[in-house]
Symmetry: C2
Subunit: 360 residues, 2 copies
Amino acid sequence: MRVYNFSAGPAMLPLAVLERAQSELTDWKGSGMSVVEVSHRGKDFVSCAEQAEVLLREVLAVPDNYKVLFLQGGASAQFDAVPMNLSAPGDVVSFLRTGSWSGKAVAGARRQGLQVEVIADQKDSNYTTVPAPSEYEIAPGSSYLHYTPNETIGGVEFDHIPETGGAPLVADTSSTILSRPLDVSAYGLIYAGAQKNMGPAGLCVVIVRDDLIGKARPATPSVLEYAGMAAADSMLNTPPTFAIYLLGLVLEWIAETGGLAAMGERNQAKAAALYGAIDSSDFYSNPVATNARSWTNVPFLMADPSLDKTFVAEAAQAGLTNLGGHRSVGGMRASIYNAMPAQGVQALIDFMADFERRNG
Amino acid sequence: MRVYNFSAGPAMLPLAVLERAQSELTDWKGSGMSVVEVSHRGKDFVSCAEQAEVLLREVLAVPDNYKVLFLQGGASAQFDAVPMNLSAPGDVVSFLRTGSWSGKAVAGARRQGLQVEVIADQKDSNYTTVPAPSEYEIAPGSSYLHYTPNETIGGVEFDHIPETGGAPLVADTSSTILSRPLDVSAYGLIYAGAQKNMGPAGLCVVIVRDDLIGKARPATPSVLEYAGMAAADSMLNTPPTFAIYLLGLVLEWIAETGGLAAMGERNQAKAAALYGAIDSSDFYSNPVATNARSWTNVPFLMADPSLDKTFVAEAAQAGLTNLGGHRSVGGMRASIYNAMPAQGVQALIDFMADFERRNG
């Protein structure tokens, strides 16, 4: 009954996780209550949230001098919250712009009154490239440097971690977190919406170095203010309990399947297979520079865009869903997050070959 | 296996709703995908969210000149968002303070630079009363009057709708929304966290009159800015899809069980039975003024507080869970929201009588 779901987010989750949640949705741990019905301050849920944080710290190797926050409002809320917490109006900040999401982060920083220096903007390539380290330099006096390691829409991914000369590095890791090992210590702050590799929509994970906490502007809404949320173990108000619970189950699944090193190998192999199929065909193409190809979001085009709709519809019939490209890019896009098995990617590759035979 | 769960929130949900969600958690509408795995911009989820809004408008009789917004951050986010959207720094606003939650709303308004006039503060009664209409008057020039119709912690509920002399009336209806009919047209804005009568935590419903939209301060975070969210049908960013889906199921259940008129009658009868049991006993007492007793949150005390732990533990053994009072009030608290059947309240009353026999 299940399909291979290539949605960019909310995205496919491990079936084992969904089945576990399903089995206990009316009776969690023999309590006679659903996990969505229990108080966030009761010992069962507090333990559930603590366990999710412990597992996240283990799986992602989060250093002890970083806080893990479970917030709401998605990564989009952080477009405002990061400036509110890390800077004062008028501060200089540096941004790398590689697509739609980094553009929205720029807009948030401007909304919060920052002097935004876009030190690299890949517009000339139609956002199909990332800048080389030699092509940009952090603006002097920057409170931080912000970038988007992977652009979900464009399928463009950095091949390096930007150098900041000591300023905090801030990253929107929504579409790559938990897809492979990450050196958290290279960052001042990372944030990520849950709905790709962590769980359902409605949860945003913020991992922030201790020394960056406690400098928020006085008018920062309490639910977005890091110091208060850190002091309250992210329960200053009622947290999104179901999403935190599912995150815990997803993390258990990652740990049981070999952790992030193994996950990274599987994801790299999936991406290599799909790009290989695209590159070996004259029928399909990927518009992104080779060094900037995303492991998680793979856009591909056909020479004749009038075939796009047929491709997407026939693929869905074959159990390969949500392959339509973003309207700003066109064509198709296959998002192949952690929960997409290699067999799903192979099924897509086989379908692509068959579609080419019939339409090429 | 299921218990009667008296949690103040997240709270008991209708079993029929949970079982429906359970049955389709791995395969929603025959899609081969979970509702938590599908794109919020896909037609299936867009239709699901639209249907939830349509049902909410029908069930609550929301006038056409009000927008319904599905936001994140809980009611707590609105403590800042309401001032950000409805006022400029330095504006006068009037607040009625009847307990803990209205106090937090006051703090939010002050954080946003408002001149807060607390025109009634029930501190002298230890927050066991509501002010009579004759005891307060809106401060001249107020941008709005804010109150909390029901204080979840204190179990204190207004017996009237405050008069504002034409200024917008703003209400945090988290613990009473959908518990009975509501005259939405009396309000400029109501907001409510979902985790009592609407669904799981992680969703906040804001219902706001059209003329109050579009005046937000420039630095309002986009995910909290009403005009942008209204224009985007609450999908400026990824919404909390599972919570919206469950809200839709809860609304279907309300509609099928007679709508808010019938719901109000059932809730009133449940509350009357429980207060009746408390009042007819010398063993139990309720600290709240008779005219201010909450339909949804019923605190009760015993003369000997050393029995509280035993009561709560034995009640849980008997399948009556989460009856511990809030630490600021002590004793016990029974939250009897929509999903708590009359039989659950009767089981509690029976247990209370038995406990009194054994300990009185």
